[in-house]
Symmetry: C2
Subunit: 109 residues, 2 copies
DNA sequence: CGACGACATCGACGTGTGTCAATATGCATT
DNA sequence: AATGCATATTGACACACGTCGATGTCGTCG
């Protein structure tokens, strides 16, 4: 199970009551994934595509980062559940996982 | 001007369009402040007080961190605008800045 | 089957940061 | 003024992480 799914099941909203160590650790790990300029730009770039999806080769140039770095960031976001991946032939297409982003948003309440 | 105020004035929601370098950097810096278990627990502990405020000496023991570390985290959150500080005699009382937290929450849309 | 293109993984490097002990600052009370 | 207490600052250390070049893997097309 992806990190954000398990947070959604176990973690109360931030200001609803004192957070335990485990809950705080999990929520912090998820927020850390989001707290990077390259990853924020990746999400906004993927979402800006008319189809709502993008492959790695279309993302490296607008970001000014190398292909391994972009691949790394996408993997990190995939692991926590912030993006979804679909392989089609040689290309790997990524979409923003709106539901999981919404989970994080609602936890800051 | 605190970081989150300037973000609120200049930064569009994450998925509204491609983020520029400066916007992504600012938003990431603000999220990084939140993406730490000690700071998340601090916010939830302060909010859990009946008065909605707390001084440093009431926060070190439930967190299991030293006083300088707690002071450091509060200063970092104060600088970006996530908490407010009010000195009363020897004690410094901190409150959660709900508005600024709301700004961050709405930017993840 | 062989070559090519897209993507993933590995190893290494530099930077950033959470933590603590030690010390400084500032207010209050006597 | 002098002492005591709450908080802030400093310096140092260990660890995490973003980035890159080099290389590996897998699917596609001659």
């Amino acid at each position: 199970m992806k990190l954000i799914d398990s947070i959604a099941a176990s973690c109360p909203p931030l200001l609803a009551g004192p957070l335990g160590n485990n809950e705080a650790d999990d929520l912090a790990r998820a927020l850390k994934v989001l707290a990077d300029p390259a990853r924020l730009r990746l999400l906004s770039l993927i979402q800006a595509q008319p189809s709502g999806e993008a492959c790695v080769c279309h993302l490296t140039e607008p970001l000014g980062l190398t292909q391994p770095t972009v691949s790394h960031h996408l993997k990190v976001m995939l692991d926590v559940g912030l993006v979804e991946r679909e392989q089609r032939g040689n290309w790997a297409f990524f979409r923003v996982a709106h539901d999981q982003l919404g989970v994080l948003r609602e936890l800051l309440a």
